[in-house]
Amino acid sequence: MAPYNPKAKTAIGLRLAAGRPVAAFTWPPFAEVETLPEAPVLEVRDLRTYFHTERGTARAVDGVSFSVGRGRTLAVVGESGCGKTVTALSILKLLNMPPAEIVSGQILLDGRDLVPLTPKEMQPVRGGQAAMIFQEPATSLNPVFTVGDQIGEAIRMHRRISKQDERAEVIRLLREVRMSEPERRVDQYPHELSGGMKQRAMIAMALSCNPKLIIADEPTTALDVTMQARILELLRQMRETHGTAVLLITHDLGVVAETADDVVVMYAGRVAEQADVRSLFAKPLHPYSIGLFKSLPRVDRSEERLQEIPGNVPSPTKFPSGCRFRTRCPLAVAKCSEEPPLVEVEPGHRSACWFAADLAAGREVNFTASVSSQVPKAAGLAGGAA
């Protein structure tokens, strides 16, 4: 096996993604292939997942719709408590029900609705047609079994395979996810591997049955940046070589910009904004997304002061009525106590804000005036008095 050369791979990968034919080959023009009417791999329609708790009903996911096509990556972004992880867990029905309940909606995987399926019917779907990669590779692997055992189990669950073939298959998968020395790793226990290697093992497990959809829930949050870059690159390659659809759950807008094709911005259980990655980053059309971008410190330039979104993310049992962002929004007016619909403001770009059209026309959103001015004033006061 030739040594892994990341630079060469990336170059080809990027060219493929850009839709240009690679030199010396005559590839089918990719743009054309993509425009063929093809049913999305995953389509979520008006999903509502509620948690019935002693303190009332938490409407963690409340009317979320999106779809992911073959070989595409959809990123669901938002802060903690926005419902992005619950959305992911609802798709594979990995939530404890009760207290959780999918109140309404459809989850179409390859055209088949998963919502009415029984746990037994769900079994071949999980790991078979759709696989999941979790945030904490350390806790998602069982410490008392070797890596080979665990990846092998995933294969055994879904395919009939002999013991020798299974081992060879595991080593092949480990090699595919660029694990160093796969023949040795296969007999190692999770504690013998670094965080990055564990996440590679998880990806190998996810790939083992050639799923149509991979759900990656914060796959790189627990990793260092250099490892993060490698894992994201790996996911990108897997998507390109296998045509897998990827649903990426993350809070990191940098990761979104580098890996996603389309983005759903969630806030308090609802979709605030939905667009392809370039339009969203070029011109966000929801005050929340605008605030997120403005509050981001950048590694590639210096700013004087960050803008901040005042207040905190509301708790899921106490979401405000109407627009859920209105308690923190500088544009909020009386009308915002009515819920804004998610409307298409520009082609393919939807926003759930009453002022979306104004924002598209260039209206500014300024967050600075609200909270930060009060802090230094108070600080000065107390300093003087003490």
């Binding site: 940046v225 250099t226 807008l253 910009a257 980053f281 006061l381």
Partner: protein
């Protein structure tokens, strides 16, 4: 800003005249090795070289960013400086006194001047203590030493008022003191931790990943708060973080650590725009930019795995992963001789620990 004019407090001014042009903190040759005990007699078999010969200075009102990946020793640096962990060797001069040599009683007197803010806003507050009690704890231990004279014992209404004012300073309502930590979000808890650190008017605060556990929108609030407080009180920060974007925003100087050693240090813009160490290049280029129209050529390490700090590679510790080492045809110096931390040009503030930093352009 109104705060900065009214703010410089009496004790800050006094020490300004007492210690002219001496840095607030001067760390020299700081090392911390942890023993690895193995076998039935628990004999020391190996050493983890967590921090190895780290030196830097920090001026008043300045921020030094200390960045690196997990396991590089940055948190240990913060803890040994405050003597929360005993150092193996080195000197930490704080206002002319070596913290590492001080008797306990004197150290206790100095403690109010040096504080720490922790990463985990959930773990750093006692869940059974009201917020007020947590913030008042420094006053219970040291008394009110902020006037500069004898410690004053604060009780009752006085204490509650003081705690309330501290909470307001960090943007929390004064009556938050009667509630418990679980009633607050991560960002609010981090504010409470900051209020507690500020209680005794410190001069120096170690911020150990203060924003890593926070959401994006709240992170900006905490960063702005730290900056406002720094302006108002002339605080010095040692900002320990793996978040290079936040560090760029808040620091004047940045030091990059790799396997226990500082490999590069420079004024912030210089370091981010013109990194000279191959590791800094790898680290910076790995950060995904929140801009889909920009795709940078990535400089990748030759090997993904960071070696164990028990077996630090010989010579330059980065050589097994170094893309420049590979590109230059594995020069012998890199694996035999530890490069010194030397200025990139005579008299420059930009120091780098690499034999071949002048060749950095070859990485593209």
């Amino acid at each position: 800003m109104s705060a900065s004019t009214s703010a410089p407090t009496s004790h800050a001014k006094k020490s300004d005249t007492a210690t002219t042009d001496m840095p607030l903190l001067n760390v020299a040759g700081l090392s911390k090795f942890f023993p690895v005990r193995r076998g039935i007699f628990a004999r020391v078999k190996q050493w983890v070289r967590a921090v190895d010969d780290v030196s830097f200075t920090l001026g008043k009102g300045e921020t030094l960013g200390l960045v690196g990946e997990s396991g590089c020793g940055k948190t240990t640096v913060g803890r040994t400086i405050l003597r929360l962990t005993r150092a193996t060797a080195g000197q930490v001069m704080f206002e002319g006194e070596d913290i590492l040599q001080l008797p306990r009683s004197r150290l206790h007197e100095l403690r109010p001047k040096m504080q720490i803010i922790f990463q985990d806003p959930y773990g750093s507050l006692n869940p059974r203590m009201t917020v007020g009690n947590a913030v008042a704890e420094p006053f219970r231990i040291h008394g009110d030493v902020t006037s500069g004279g004898e410690p004053v014992r604060l009780t009752g209404v006085q204490l509650r008022e003081r705690v309330g004012r501290l909470l307001e300073q960090v943007g929390m309502p004064a009556d938050a003191q009667y509630r418990y930590p679980h009633e607050f979000s991560g960002g609010q808890r981090q504010r409470i931790g900051i209020a507690r650190a500020l209680a005794l008017k410190p001069k120096f605060i170690v911020c150990d990943e203060p924003t890593s556990a926070l959401d994006v929108s709240v992170r900006a609030q905490v960063i702005n708060l730290l900056q406002d407080l720094q302006k108002a009180y002339g605080l010095s920060y040692l900002m320990i973080s793996h978040d290079l974007a936040a560090v760029r925003h808040i620091s004047r100087q940045v030091a990059v650590m790799y396997l226990g050693r500082i490999v590069e240090q420079a004024p912030t813009t210089e370091l981010y725009d013109r990194p000279r160490h191959p590791y800094t290049r790898v680290l910076l280029s790995a950060i995904p930019l929140p801009d889909p129209t920009k795709r940078r050529a990535r400089v990748t390490a030759a090997d993904d795995e960071i070696p164990s700090p028990i077996n630090v590679p010989t010579g330059c510790a980065f050589h097994p992963r170094c893309p420049l080492y590979a590109l230059l045809g594995k020069p012998e110096r890199c694996h035999t001789e530890l490069p010194a931390l030397s200025p990139v040009a005579p008299g420059s503030q930009h120091v780098v620990r690499c034999h071949y930093h002048e060749e950095i352009g070859k990485l593209g």
